[in-house]
Subunit: 207 residues, 3 copies
């Protein structure tokens, strides 16, 4: 598998996962079929579109490569028509969101490095790519984005993106490092969800 095929493959899996999370949020909100498809596409592509716009890689690949639309539409249709199956997973929205988070954090960092961005910038673009889809999804349905409230959400994206950048600095082979980063991000997020791990909260003196 060539590097670019490899990146494209995990990009599609991440897109599918985020699209399922968007479609699930839409079904729960009682949106109609097309609203669900729009939210699936927005959640599935917003992180990558923001990444490409900020890298100056315009027009963004998710808008010109028709397969992204296909992947999101498929995820949306499956979620819409087989919502009973999807909901049998324990918390399908957060689960698919965690898968997408790990894959996109890794891809975002990798693409930034390939565009010559330095280590800190690559980590930040990785985090942004990872969290972008979920933020847009949550803002569109007027919820405070999970990144601000959920357990170790941005920390997990930071872990995944940092592993990719560290691997690059150490000249490790990129593909295994990308897999390790995505798995580490997903694992940290998954465990934090299941066990309710959380960072400390400041005592605010007023509302």
């Amino acid at each position: 598998m060539t590097p670019s095929t490899f990146v494209a493959a995990i990009d599609f899996v991440g897109t599918f996962a985020f699209a399922v999370s968007g479609a699930t949020a839409g079904v729960r909100r009682g949106l109609d079929l097309f609203g669900v498809l729009v939210l699936a596409f927005a959640a599935g592509t917003a992180g990558g579109i923001a990444r490409d716009a900020l890298l100056g890689a315009t027009p963004p690949v998710a808008l010109v490569d028709a397969r992204y639309l296909g992947v999101c539409t498929l995820a949306g249709l499956v979620t819409f028509f087989r919502h009973d199956v999807v909901e049998r997973l324990r918390n399908p929205l957060q689960l698919s969101d965690a898968v997408g988070l790990g894959l996109f954090a890794v891809i975002g960092a990798r693409k930034a490095l390939d565009h010559g961005v330095g280590p800190v910038g690559a980590v930040l673009l990785g985090v942004l790519t990872g969290v972008g889809g979920g933020v847009v999804r949550d803002v569109l349905v007027t919820q405070v984005p999970g990144i601000l409230q959920r357990e170790l959400y941005a920390v997990a994206a930071l872990l995944g993106a940092s592993l990719v950048v560290a691997g690059d600095l150490l000249h490790l082979p990129p593909q295994p490092v990308a897999v390790a980063g995505a798995v580490a991000c997903f694992a940290l997020r998954f465990l934090a969800m299941r066990r309710g791990w959380q960072l400390p909260v400041a005592k605010a003196r007023r509302g």
Copy 2:
């Protein structure tokens, strides 16, 4: 009328229509004069700004051509000071929104084709340009965007943008095709509003 004059003309009409929708939302929210003007400008230009940013056509035309600011300010002032007249229209916010939707979907698709974007990308950029202003307007006043909930909203934008791209593939003359696309989008949206047409909704199993 040259092609670029033609595009500019319908761009200004679409900007005016969306600016009226933004100003109307602002007046209903009880914003002060400048808040109304800001919301008019945001609604009138956000779709085009997003389109230009994603095409790499920076800085966006709506920020460098002062006439966009003039058109939005005019729309905001008229709506603010003659709000009684505007409200005599049946549902002025959704009506002006539907006009802007059709014009911007068509212009967005056209500009994307002119930048060498393929058919699917051009349709997506057309939809994005069409819905962008309304999404930003609704998010700013913390409402779930109409695109996710209103009757056949994104479908109508898809229709308008698709007609432009289909006309381009068939080598039809662009100006009549653009008019047909905008009219078709507006008509579909208008009828859906008046008659309450809607796509099916999935049965969610929990909130």
Copy 3:
């Protein structure tokens, strides 16, 4: 101090001020430490990132220069761990927001002029840079952005950016003009807050 050092210096001060406003909003919302840091970074950099993306100056400086992350993290940590001290200021969120507003409006206009954007575009990009961080902060915590509701908020940004552009047209020395613009913006906003100055509100006929 060279011009670029001068711009960088006030950019960091503005970033710090907006980051404090973001962190304060996060602490009040009961976010955990990392959520507070994310909101500090988003509020501190969103205006500049939007400005750079719209100018085509990609990747945005706030993502590639690690010092922006450092400044935002510092502001977030101080606000999180010494929240009692920060809250002793009268309304620290709006105060830091007003400082950032003035500095960013001035920098945004200056950078736009340096990229060859005309006077109206430079004013608009200045306003956008000034208000961007606060809008993102408020949308993320699902509040109607202050720019739409608070006293003379966008008017103050408009004043600051306009002074920079006017100074440029009159060939005045840029550094004193930038300081004057930032001070004028802050002073107008500060007085409007303290005295409750407001523009007129339209009488809406329905909710």
